[in-house]
Symmetry: C2
């Protein structure tokens, strides 16, 4: 499980953390929690779901027929919850590293970059 999740996959797991949801509903939920910036395409969604089910991170929760249309619900597995948790921690560390370096940059207003300060051993 050392393959880092990409954004669409991460958001799918995040959406499912709220509770079981069907495929088409995930498209709307992911759009909502990303502020309408990420719009999942069916190809991305079902490809990702197949992979996640195959990896045991997501399970099929059941099916339902509403107005003659099939709804297949997916649910986060315990392993999926653990993976999402670990991925979140990883991202949090990256965000912190980038934030501190960016703020240091702003504070210093980018001086002449002392290249003679010794390499990073």
């Amino acid at each position: 499980m050392d393959t880092p999740l990409r954004e669409p996959t991460f958001l799918i797991l995040t959406a499912l953390a709220t509770g079981p949801m069907h495929g088409y509903g995930l498209i709307g939920e992911v759009a909502a929690l990303s502020g309408n910036r990420v719009s999942l395409r069916p190809g991305t969604l079902y490809g990702a779901l197949d992979r996640l089910v195959d990896a045991g991170l997501v399970e099929v929760d059941g099916e339902e027929v509403v107005d003659g249309r099939l709804r297949r619900y997916y649910r986060l597995s315990p392993g999926g919850e653990a993976t999402l948790s670990a991925e979140t921690e990883r991202l949090r560390r990256n965000v912190e590293a980038a934030t501190s370096r960016l703020s240091a940059r702003t504070r210093a207003a980018r001086p002449i970059t002392p290249r003679t300060a010794g390499g990073l051993a």
Copy 2:
């Protein structure tokens, strides 16, 4: 620029936020700021650098010869700094969304998920 950065590319920009650095040095720096979890391979590094230079996010800062070996320094461009900043914000929002949903899950110990609560319009 709506293509989200993958982790290796994000970490390269983060490393360069500290100051100019040469390719091989980036491998060590990225390893360091990721807690030795991400080890950049040459193929990833130079492929990413070419793409970043091509996209105007990174610029060649100059070259230096140390012990007969060429060192090509790269530097974060203003556009690269803006992109890194925007990407960091995006990740921060994703981390926050995942964190709140995961903690809500833990608190509720996963009840019966009210599926009849109405679809997300």
